[in-house]
Subunit: 100 residues, 2 copies
Amino acid sequence: MDQVEIFKALSNKTRLQILNWLKQPAENFPEQPNADFENVGVCVGQIQNKAGLSQSTISEYLSILQRADLVCATRVGQWTYYKRNKEGLEKLSEIINTEL
Amino acid sequence: MDQVEIFKALSNKTRLQILNWLKQPAENFPEQPNADFENVGVCVGQIQNKAGLSQSTISEYLSILQRADLVCATRVGQWTYYKRNKEGLEKLSEIINTEL
DNA sequence: TTGGTATATCGGGAAAAGTCGATATACATT
DNA sequence: AATGTATATCGACTTTTCCCGATATACCAA
């Protein structure tokens, strides 16, 4: 993954917020019926509600974050759940500590 | 400093390279006559030579990095020397570890 | 004070990102 | 099969970023 793409993904207020919300899903989102936050993450609709931008925008933002390995997605039925990508975030931390 | 501005500053290949070069000036730049890399940093002209972009572009890039607290500048005579801003970089590392 | 060098700022054209509404796709339910 | 819901993709428009050349500013040397 290109480093520049990682930082571009983070260069947007809403995307930073999403990542921050996903750090503590239980604190930031209402209970989900059939899915555990810790296992699968939070579905697109909940993130969209919280962010207040259009569905298409949030869907695209999530795929930008995913391409940067900052979140990962799981499809379950008609829902796609997103959660933090721990490995990607650790790698980012390492980049900053070793290369910058 | 706005977090988004920090990540925007890092969302560019050349600016990332500059920061990386400044981590080990002695390895990345030829000797400077009247200035110690460790004390004041590297002057704009040297960075421009290495980056291969126009003088105006590099000057602007450096001020973008400075506004993001990623480098700091010292003017000495007709030269401006730039070096890493250790505090800003530590703060960035902290943001990633605690908020994302 | 005149000229030379280093850096900063300005103005602009091309490319990329932000954001939307409309539409497509995928799946579930009846 | 038909409808409804969740998400993804497309097309368009606006704003921002990239990067340049030209010009301004600051400082130094003769």
